[in-house]
Amino acid sequence: MTQSSDAEVRPAAAPVRGNGGRLGNRIFRGISTSSGVLILVILAAVAAFLLYRAWPALTADTSAFAEVDFMMDRSLWAWVLPLILGTILSSVIALIVAVPLSLGIGLFISHYAPRRLAQFLGYMIDLLAAIPSVIFGLWGIQWLQPLVHPLFAWLSTHLGFIPIFSDYQAPARNIMTAGLVLAVMIVPIITATIREVFLQTPRLHEEASLALGATRWEMIQQAVLPFGRSGIISASMLGLGRALGETMAVLMVLSPGYAVNFLLLQPGQHQSIAANIASHLPEAGADGVDALIASGLILFAFTFAVNLVARWIINRRAEFSGAN
């Protein structure tokens, strides 16, 4: 495609006299374009290598995994299904906690806090995103786990008749705690997008609303939230994508298990795909590695789809945005 679009470049770029710049242009353009293409190649390579190693596991029957101790004589799908459930469960918990929180933070920064303070506060929230996940794991064990213990105990004794709250067992190394740690980790990602969208709300909409005598909250309901709806959805999906793939926090906080149930407060019931890979890959034999890579491929496809849809919504929205 280098030749095809050269014509558009030349009138602006070529010097008036001589060809001194043309070779340089070609080379520079070539390097830039191939860098862009290389990124696509890397992404394709990720999928290709995973698929190549996962293929034997995906097509094998149960007997092939008899020697893989962590699969406990199950077929690949019987083994992966609880993991998929655990992954989704922890992410959904994280999302339920994080989205309202992020909405509040986004609104606070964009419409409540004074301008200068808002910048600083935005920076504070961004700092959360910079903290390594392994440290969130430590924090989850050391600080969050003892903190939620009385709350979980209370839930289990008083609301235990609801299945999801029953059978709490201390210590709180359960999927709920893992979900809460994940929630803290995805808040900055969701907030960043939401804040951006809220700041783009057309000023005239807001002023029109206020001029009609609306309170600040009514103005937000009438102007900001409807304008930002698709942004909120895609931000949540970005957060979901992150939560699905987060490894260390789940690995450190959750006591793993392969059950299919919704006992959110009982340890030893669930495990996520990512944490499962991290805990078993270093010691796995060849068949085990194939199975783990197959589970990784499933995770990759899943997060890829979620992120793709989220980005698609964002991009589609940008064209209609009243702000430009």
Partner: protein, 349 residues
């Protein structure tokens, strides 16, 4: 969309005086402290939760009586939004608090300059020198590949790209920022498994894994910086007969060099704490491995994880390692901030 009825123009609204919210807040906190003291213990968390609840109820009721239901709703929303924000800051503060508090005990010059050779069982000595070297190697390899690749891709997207290829790359780079780190690790692991066989272990594998994570970050941030360069500068350069590539190098890149450096450092800070991909690719060792192309290597995040998993006195080393990691990340972020403040050209927006 239904617009609420305009307010009655004749009568001015009765509003709560300015001092009402802070006074209500203090009263709520006092009430919460009282209730907690009655039931045994006053904890900071309990005080915050109960105080916030009391405040939200009190201000809403007060406002409803004095100002009417619409303003009461507004007061309630303000309270909830503020609480949401404070809730998000709590993890940050407690996290920094416990990492510094627990990490400072073992953290010393000796910790930074010794490795784990000859440290057994309950011995309290030993440090993270080997892990720091390993982290430098792995992130260094990632940086060497990801920085040029990312910058040139950003140049393509801003200066050359058009049509479907540009849209495709933009979309996929965005999607790539969401790749789980463990998948990036699996990719590097699998690639070297296929290409070099199962026995090959090296820092290089971890570096490749981090490259997959770092490149999209560099592209997105640098792209943003290049877009900030005003078109007038490019046009002025073309008008003087400067070829396009020289314009990019001498005008566009030079104008945004501060921003580009900042983007790169922020991307580095992001990947330097990645644990999962390194856990499965490079593992952990006890001593310094000076060779990036052969043998396992220790890295700081994996060191923290493994030391914590061992428990006992190792946990102290884990916290000291975590403190080291946080200091590095914060330093990088600080440097990036300073660079952006002093070197980025002022662009009116």
């Amino acid at each position: 969309m239904a617009v609420a009825a305009p307010p009655l123009p004749v009568r001015r609204h009765r509003r709560l005086p300015r001092w009402a919210p802070p006074v209500t807040l203090l009263a709520s906190l006092a009430l919460a402290a009282g209730i907690l003291a009655l039931f045994g213990q006053v904890t900071l968390g309990g005080l915050f939760a109960l105080g916030a609840l009391c405040y939200a109820v009190a201000i809403t009721v007060l406002s409803r009586v004095v100002e009417g239901p619409r303003w009461a709703k507004d007061r309630l929303a303000t309270a909830l939004v503020t609480v949401a924000f404070l809730l998000a800051v709590i993890p940050l503060i407690t996290l920094l608090g416990i990492v510094v508090g627990d990490g400072i005990q073992q953290f010393s010059w000796e910790f930074l300059t010794t490795d784990m050779v000859g440290v057994f069982g309950s011995m309290a000595s030993g440090g993270a020198f080997h892990a720091i070297i390993g982290t430098l190697y792995v992130t260094g390899i990632a940086a060497v590949i990801a920085i040029p690749l990312g910058i040139f891709t950003a140049i393509y997207l801003v200066e050359y790209g058009q049509g479907r290829l540009k849209r495709g790359i933009t979309l996929l780079v965005d999607v790539m920022t969401g790749i789980p780190s463990i998948v990036a690790g699996l990719f590097a692991y699998t690639m070297f498994l296929v290409v070099a066989g199962p026995d090959y272990k090296a820092a290089l594998i971890g570096g490749v894994a981090l490259t997959v994570l770092m490149t999209p970050l560099v592209v997105r941030n640098v792209e943003e910086m290049l877009r900030l360069v005003p078109n007038e500068l490019r046009e002025a350069s073309y008008a003087l007969g400067v070829p396009k590539w020289l314009t990019i190098v001498k005008v566009v890149l030079r104008t945004s060099i501060g921003g580009i450096t900042m983007s790169v450092i922020i991307a580095l800070a992001r990947i330097i704490g990645e644990t999962a991909p390194l856990l499965i690719t490079v593992g952990i060792v006890q001593s310094v491995n000076w060779n990036a192309f052969d043998g396992r290597i220790a890295t700081l995040p994996v060191y923290v994880y493994r030391q914590y998993a061992q428990g006992g006195p190792s946990a102290d080393r884990a916290w000291a390692g975590a403190l080291t990691l946080i200091i590095i990340v914060m330093l990088l972020n600080l440097i990036a901030r300073l660079i952006s403040r002093y070197f980025t050209p002022k662009v009116s927006r």
